[in-house]
């Protein structure tokens, strides 16, 4: 198939490629000199375009396009096309059962409405708290677990599996059994704190504690992931660094604080980005917790708000505007990470 394409390609750009030497392994030797148009022969319009593209994007740009162009176009249409379409919708006043949005009158009315909506402000703050609180707590717990396991405790492998296991569970499952554990009357959490004479606390009903309770549940699910990332980072640090720090007179705490943990910067950034993305996708967890778009009071986040506005209230344009805000937040997390990785030549 590739051969046919190449023949077709050769036919389209007659002069410059016809004399190329075909290697026995089927590849084509494209010498720099071979692409210089000979004086007197016309490269043709396609040839000129290929020439320009190749000199801009690298010598095999057009030739390799057979492999990447189709997936690239599909991705562009269904991901980035959809985002742009969503942005357009957010600029209209589309709502209710109208057949199609009216694109003739675009303005930022929906964004203004969002800023004036206390529900939106609350959801944005909750999203932010969840993002920071969940990521921070999970990283700290993961780091402590990783350090303990790295110090060669017994049953190391079993502990690693036990901690990592919750991550393999679906949000739907974990939400359901945290719902049971947080149950006001007979949940295990209230039973346990009842032993110490505390509670019972309405974990999911009390606006003040519902968000920390949800952060705790999510932390339980993802600290194993942070632990594995940190464990890999710890294993990459040569044991001489621990020994050098000890001989230098540092106590165990100081050794970790000043020598080991600073070397885990890369692991921290990778884990933090993944955890933040999970935090923004906490929609699944909240949806499963209550079985609907309306999470407990005090735990509404932008993702639930967006879906509720769009599909429950049919405020299509308003939902789109919230989606764009959420998208911008995600981008502000991923963007710096990509720049960081690019600077370190990892991309």
């Amino acid at each position: 198939m590739f051969d046919n394409l190449r023949r077709l390609f050769a036919a389209l750009s007659p002069s410059s490629r016809a004399d190329e030497e075909v290697r026995p392994d089927g590849g084509v030797v494209s010498e720099e000199s071979a692409r210089q148009p000979d004086s007197g022969s016309d490269p043709g319009p396609v040839g000129r375009v290929t020439e320009a593209l190749n000199s801009r994007f690298g010598s095999d740009f057009t030739e390799s396009s057979v492999f990447w162009l189709l997936p690239f176009l599909l991705m562009a249409l269904f991901v980035y096309g959809a985002i742009i379409w969503n942005l357009l919708i957010s600029l209209t006043d589309y709502r209710g059962f109208a057949n199609a949005p009216d694109y003739s009158n675009l303005d930022f009315e929906m964004y203004a409405r969002a800023l004036g909506d206390p529900g939106f402000i609350d959801a944005a703050i909750n999203t932010f708290v969840l993002l920071i609180g969940f990521t921070g707590v999970t990283l700290v717990v993961g780091l402590v677990l990783a350090i303990l396991i790295d110090r060669g405790i017994r049953f190391e492998n079993s502990f690693r599996t036990i901690y990592l296991l919750p991550m393999s569970l679906s949000f739907v499952v974990t939400a359901q059994f945290w719902l049971w554990m947080y149950n006001y009357n007979n949940g295990i959490v209230n039973s346990v704190i009842g032993v110490f004479g505390l509670g019972p606390v309405s974990w999911l009903g009390n606006q003040a504690v519902v968000l920390p309770a949800i952060i705790f549940a999510l932390m339980w699910q993802f600290s194993g992931y942070a632990m594995v990332v940190y464990l890999a980072g710890l294993r990459a640090i040569p044991s001489e660094h621990y020994e050098a720090a000890k001989v230098d007179g540092a106590s165990t705490m100081k050794m970790y604080w000043r020598v080991i943990i600073p070397q885990l910067k890369g692991a921290t950034i990778s884990a933090a980005v993944v955890l933040m993305v999970f935090a923004m996708k906490a929609f699944d967890f909240l949806y499963s917790l209550v079985g609907g778009y309306r999470p407990p009071n005090g735990a509404d986040i932008l993702a639930t708000k967006m879906v509720r506005e769009a599909y429950a209230n049919l405020n299509w344009a308003y939902g789109s505007a919230i989606a764009i805000v959420l998208f911008a937040m995600a981008l502000s997390v991923i963007g710096p990470y990509l720049v960081y990785e690019y600077r370190r030549d990892n991309l």
Partner: protein, 381 residues
């Protein structure tokens, strides 16, 4: 700065149900300001010994004392020692300055500005002042080595421990650093224990060398004494390149009988041997003379097998009996670089009696060492 004393120090590692003795009953005393080189083949326990002194490995039995204080159970944080690692172990996230000040910050209460002062002075001493603000990854191997050294020196510890610190450098730089380290140690006068597998480092750097094999201390003495008066066959074979020639011989009527030759010995030498008759004859390659014609009992006809020209000298592989093929006993001789001996030629190898070593074949102990009458200028003590 203090005397370090090892008394019957033993280290046993548990590997499942097996016990692996890494260091076996080593006793040694390192004087204040002394430079002791510990040398031995890979896996002889020399690094384990160093790590025990550093407090990074526990001591199974025996006592380790520093300045008359037993430090078996003192944590390495509190031992006031500094160690230079083979891999340097510089903290990659800290600048050179931070690397060097870390130890002082952690182990002393010296105020920050004084620490910075000390770091700058050490930097000048080692010629790394302009590197102080760089990260280790921006330094060459030789510069990293200097920083690792500076990190130890700035601490002004009671003992320096060095674990093959020069083995990651190229040959030229290694020779240069060897001299510099010696000069530094002389100036600072800090008790130093230096582990290496490189016998050139062992011979040239130390005040004394300790030779370890299989966790056991073979000999601890000055480099020249170890070289000329080895305590046993292992030491004799380990020091010197190319190494000493060994031949299994049996003593009969004042004659050492080997597979390919007979070597008569004088009554003086014989007196050292006692009743032992199963012996090993040893002779250093540089003591063998190649002569024109056989003139005595200690001259042997040989055939040149291979010549390795080194420039300043040639290493010549001689065969006693070329007809024996693979099994032929080979004698290695060093001659100066200008002597030309074509391969395949017959030459006479002279083995002077005053240069031979004789070892007990069963125990390996040296029974007779070369005489040093012609080397009065060498100070062995």
């Amino acid at each position: 700065m203090a005397t370090l004393e090892l008394d019957s120090v033993t280290k046993v590692f548990q590997d499942g149900n097996d016990e692996i003795v890494a260091v076996d009953d080593v006793s040694a005393s390192v004087d204040d300001g002394e430079f002791l080189v510990v040398v031995g083949p890979s896996g002889c326990g020399k690094s384990t010994m160093l790590r025990m002194i550093a407090g990074l490995e526990s001591i199974t039995s025996g006592t380790l004392s520093l300045a008359d204080r037993v430090i078996n159970d003192v944590k390495s944080q509190d031992r006031n020692i500094a160690m230079v690692f083979q891999s340097y172990a510089l903290y990659p996230h800290m600048s050179v300055r931070e690397n060097m000040s870390f130890g002082l910050e952690e182990s002393t209460d010296i105020p920050d500005d004084e620490i910075q002062q000390m770091v700058s002075e050490t930097g000048e001493l080692l010629g790394i002042s302009e590197l102080l603000d760089r990260k280790p990854s921006e330094l060459s191997g030789g510069q990293q080595q200097r920083v690792a050294l500076g990190r130890a020196i700035v601490r002004d510890p009671e003992v320096f421990l060095m674990d093959e610190p020069l083995s990651n450098l190229d040959a030229k730089l290694r020779a240069q650093m060897r001299t510099e380290l010696q000069r530094l140690q002389d100036d600072l006068g800090v008790t130093t224990i230096y582990v290496t597998h490189d016998q050139t480092e062992a011979m040239t750097m130390g005040d004394r060398i300790a030779i370890l094999n299989d966790g056991r201390l073979q000999q601890i003495s000055t480099p020249l004494e170890c070289y000329h008066k080895p305590a046993n066959k292992f030491v004799a074979g380990f020091l010197g390149e190319p190494s000493m020639n060994f031949f299994d011989v049996t003593l009969q009527d004042g004659v050492l009988r080997g597979d390919s030759f007979e070597y008569p010995i004088s009554s003086d030498v014989q007196a050292n041997l006692g009743d032992t008759t199963d012996l090993v004859l040893g002779i250093r390659p540089e003591d063998i003379e190649l002569v024109e014609s056989a003139s005595g009992d200690h001259d042997f006809e040989t055939v040149v097998d291979v010549i390795e020209p080194m420039g300043d000298e040639n290493t010549v592989y001689l065969q006693f009996d070329p007809d024996a093929g693979e099994d032929a006993e080979t004698l290695i001789a060093s001659t100066d670089g200008f002597t030309r001996v074509p391969e395949g030629d017959e030459v006479i190898a002279q083995i002077p009696e005053d240069a031979i070593h004789i070892f007990d074949r069963a125990t390996g102990d040296a029974l007779h060492n070369r005489s040093l009458d012609d080397a009065e200028t060498i100070d062995l003590e």
